[in-house]
Symmetry: C2
Amino acid sequence: MTTQPAFRRSEPDARRLSLIEACARVLAREGIAGASVRTIAVEAGVSAGLVGHYFAGVDALIAATYAHTGARVDTALEAAVATAGEDPRARLEAFVTASFAAPIADPELLATWIAFWSLVRARPEIAALHDEQYGGFRGQLERLLADCGLPAAQLRTMAIAITALVDGLWLELCLSPRELTATEAAAIARDALARLTSPVKATG
Amino acid sequence: MTTQPAFRRSEPDARRLSLIEACARVLAREGIAGASVRTIAVEAGVSAGLVGHYFAGVDALIAATYAHTGARVDTALEAAVATAGEDPRARLEAFVTASFAAPIADPELLATWIAFWSLVRARPEIAALHDEQYGGFRGQLERLLADCGLPAAQLRTMAIAITALVDGLWLELCLSPRELTATEAAAIARDALARLTSPVKATG
DNA sequence: AACCTTGTTGGACGTTCGTACAACAAGTGC
DNA sequence: GCACTTGTTGTACGAACGTCCAACAAGGTT
């Protein structure tokens, strides 16, 4: 197919990364069912044996892909918050709505997430990785909420609620983008955020 | 292992059901990676060939398991609403919090859901099944919200928000029950529901 | 220029996969 | 009690799987 030499040597980190990216593409295209060592190796343009050289198995590669993708998400979230300026309220809103725009609102991400979730129950060390990622998201949200003046006693509860809202919207957006558009999802999240964080009115 | 005859004939529907239940158990125990025709057949106590007799493949079996489990969820939700009595508000709250108690808050359900989600992107007919299940949930929620006097213009938006909230909480509850208990998830959902459905206060 | 380290290949191995099919047995109608 | 239908088994087959490893080549060292 190419006139190049049979293989080119890469720096270990670059090769690791190319395998991770290939894994993400395969997961997006064929789902976890098609994510075999061979398929991923072909996608990355390397031999099958090389995958085993860098990762203990497909599970470890999926975990690494999740970690890498999670880091990209974190970066995007931080960038969104930074762009929002100084107003705490604007920063909170930017954080919440960033999940419904590129690069986070991406079906390719969902494929990685689902593949990872499918490993959580059977693998304690993978469950720990999930807890870490989820806890980081919630922690950052708690900080933004505190900056908005939310009482400390409500921080955890409110952060969990907003995280659930964002995750649920994001999931549905990625699963059936024909039923729910990114614009609408963002609008719903903005409105729900306003309602959730406004003081409760007495019932009756 | 048994002194019974080599096989016992079952009614087709009963056999189908036993295969579906076996599939759910395998998904819960080993994840989608372990859900092969052979494994499921052993779990159901039948030969491997019989699975092919009832389902076109593992994907079709997973789809049937999803449909069956979804129907069980619908039944549980209807029962919760019926138990709540006549007050529209109580009925709405019962519907929302039912997801955080048996039989819905069950990691075994999550395994089925994740396996199903992993097929959505690559299979249009499975995506349609998801849209149907999700639409049914949201439709029922819209009816309950309408009974509570919510303006028609807000029905869709509010139902999507609440569905996302419930899904997100349920997902997190099933993924890491050590971090989030069912009781806390239900309390959060109740509180968030109250805030979401209370009139917005003018920003000041 | 000879050498060493190591990323990389390609093929071999045993296992498990999905599928197909002939043989068999449990009901059912007569 | 005999034929017929059909749910069910057991086996066999090719394809794809994960894993291993000897051989090879690229890049750095001396």
